[in-house]
């Protein structure tokens, strides 16, 4: 357990990893705790208005705000990526968690300018091979450090892993849908394998539903009464396909 000052208690089992933000006047702004059996560490870098928090993930990641991002052993049995999360100065998460590589260890994640980032990442031999924005990493060298500069809306990408996508794979109706009603999500039976999940995110990237899809299934009925109103992003994902389509629930 941690105690920051006398009145600010954070951390209690099973919390595994913590990130704390203190503003320039040394008032506590926000903190995030990350649980998961093998979340090993976190780092942070800030450019005044936003913070980057990054976590090497070995299997799963759960945030203190009850958001379960993924359970990677289920989603990607062969991949155990690291994640970078972006928060605004109030501690609200911005965009999607950015997944990177396979057991890569971030030493630095720096916001150079708006939508410009510098990452310093250490890779080890067991990092495996993967592709990130057209560049190959994980080439046979026992250890190396990469300086990677990226421009653009990095946190609009749910994963850097190369997956086949086709928005037409998802048919959602009715769309828009009335809150409290049922929606039906249809998909080709051919893209569903033993490790397929349907994820529903709100417009801020928070996960509201994670539902396992069984092989042979070609549609699923979602009760919207448990979802918040607004634009939802519905993603069907397995290790070969990722398909996302949006719907308005009002």
């Amino acid at each position: 357990m941690w105690v920051a000052q006398d009145s600010f208690y954070i951390g209690s089992p099973p919390v595994a990893s913590l990130a704390i933000r203190v503003d320039k006047d040394w008032n506590f702004q926000w903190h995030k705790s990350y649980a998961g059996s093998s979340v090993v560490s976190a780092m942070n870098s800030t450019s005044g208005t936003e913070s980057l928090v990054f976590i090497p993930i070995l299997d799963s990641l759960i945030l203190s705000d009850t958001v379960i991002y993924h359970t990677y052993e289920e989603l990607y049995p062969q991949f155990v990526p690291s994640a970078i999360l972006k928060f605004d100065k109030e501690g609200s998460r911005v965009g999607e968690p950015f997944m990177f590589g396979d057991r890569g260890l971030f030493w630095e994640a720096i916001t150079l300018d708006k939508d410009k980032y510098l990452f310093m990442v250490k890779f080890k031999s067991e990092s495996g091979q993967f592709e990130f924005l057209g560049e190959s990493y994980g080439f046979g060298i026992s250890q190396y450090v990469s300086f990677i500069e990226v421009e653009g809306n990095l946190f609009d990408i749910i994963s850097s892993l190369s997956l086949a996508t086709n928005e037409n794979d998802l048919q959602i109706y009715p769309s828009p849908a009335i809150h409290g009603s049922r929606i039906i999500v249809e998909f080709p039976i051919s893209i569903v394998d033993d490790n397929t999940n349907l994820l529903i995110y709100d417009n801020n990237g928070l996960l509201e539903v994670a539902q396992r899809i069984s092989k042979g299934q070609d549609k699923i009925v979602i009760q919207t009464e448990h979802l918040s109103k607004g634009i939802k992003r519905i993603t069907l994902i397995n290790e070969n396909h990722k398909t996302t389509k949006s719907i308005l629930i009002f």
Partner: protein, 346 residues
């Protein structure tokens, strides 16, 4: 199941939804890779720090255990031959280095500290000026010896020569990165169990965290124990050195109240953009500043952050307590504006 037909209301909503979606996606710029530079690390590679130091939009990466083979891992810059004389057998007196990284360009420059593998303790940027603090027998920046006696050090390790180890020195140099030249130096003899634990360079002064388990001299002042005569009462100080007068402007007891140097010490000393000095102190006992207790808790493995004005007044302090976890605090970052990010595990 038959798909329901859309009524007019749903059509209007669909158009509205598509407009909102278009607006939200039209501002998104696709992510692209600007540069990607890879530095391979072998078993005999330099030991790089796991952080970058920012100064004026450039980033500096520090490494120890450096010899001329560093050229094998940096393809973008050519580093001049580094003098690594033999210390007998296969041992060599290695260097340390600061590698400059410029966003958009890659690795652009470097500063070598020959013989500085074990000796360079701290560095701090202020504009074009770089303060380097060494406590080794010899201290050099690029091709200039700042202080110490290299020949005596080498003779001591030469089995054929009966030499004595030279005096270990505390030295600093201020290096102008634009002029590529040393502009100021100072050195003084080692004192027993004395160490500088952190430095921060300001316009015409240096803030220093120093420590010993006895009274010690620093730039002409005697810095005493927290409780004079009580050797377990700590002797860590935060001091401000005026670079013109070479005198301390002020000095304050800082840290905890226990025997310093055993379990506690200053881990970070930096300036924020307002000129305040910030010290992160690993405390084992009650934390205090200038002899005044800041809390009444006997913490173990705690951290106390101090923010001190240029005049030496304590502006604020924060305490992080993890009494049962020796590795709770894994990393921390103090930003230019003095804000703090703390990372850990519990």
């Amino acid at each position: 199941m038959t798909k329901p037909k859309c009524n007019l209301f749903q059509k209007v909503l669909t158009i509205l939804f598509l407009c909102i979606a278009c607006i939200s996606t039209s501002t998104a710029q696709e992510a692209t890779l600007v540069t990607s530079l890879n530095v391979s690390l072998g078993s005999d590679s330099p030991r790089f720090k796991e952080e970058l130091i920012e100064n004026d939009g450039k980033y500096y990466w520090y490494a120890t255990k450096v010899n001329s083979r560093i050229n094998d891992i940096f393809n973008d810059i050519e580093i001049e031959d580094i003098d690594t004389p033999s210390l007998g057998g296969a041992d060599e007196l290695k260097a340390s280095i600061l590698i400059e990284y410029t966003p958009g360009e890659g690795f652009t420059d470097y500063i070598v500290f020959p013989y500085g593998d074990k000796g360079i303790r701290h560095y701090s940027f202020k504009g074009d000026s770089l303060l380097i603090w060494s406590d080794y027998y010899v201290f050099a920046v690029n091709d200039s010896i700042v202080s110490g006696d290299l020949d005596s050090l080498l003779n001591f390790h030469d089995a054929d020569i009966e030499g004595s180890l030279p005096t270990r020195l505390n030295s600093f140099a201020i290096y102008d990165t634009k002029l590529d030249s040393i502009v100021d130096t100072y050195s003084f003899d080692e004192q027993k169990n004395f160490s500088i634990e952190g430095v921060a360079l300001s316009d015409n002064s240096i803030y220093m965290c120093s420590d010993a388990n006895w009274s010690y001299e620093l730039f002409g002042d005697t810095l005493d124990l927290f409780i004079p005569g009580d050797l377990s009462s700590s002797n860590s100080h935060l001091s401000k050195l005026n670079l013109t007068s070479r005198k301390l402007e002020w000095t304050k007891h800082i840290g905890d109240t226990s025997g310093s140097g055993l379990y506690s010490g200053a881990e970070k000393t930096v300036l924020d953009e307002y000129g305040n000095v910030i010290v992160l102190f690993n405390t084992w006992d009650r934390s205090q500043f200038d002899g005044v207790y800041l809390d009444d808790k006997y913490g173990q493995l705690d951290y106390t952050l101090y923010k001190v004005s240029p005049e030496g007044e304590l502006i604020k302090h924060l305490k992080f307590n993890a009494p049962n976890d020796p590795q709770a605090f894994r990393n921390y970052r103090i930003e230019k504006d003095g804000s703090v990010n703390v990372m850990g595990v519990t």
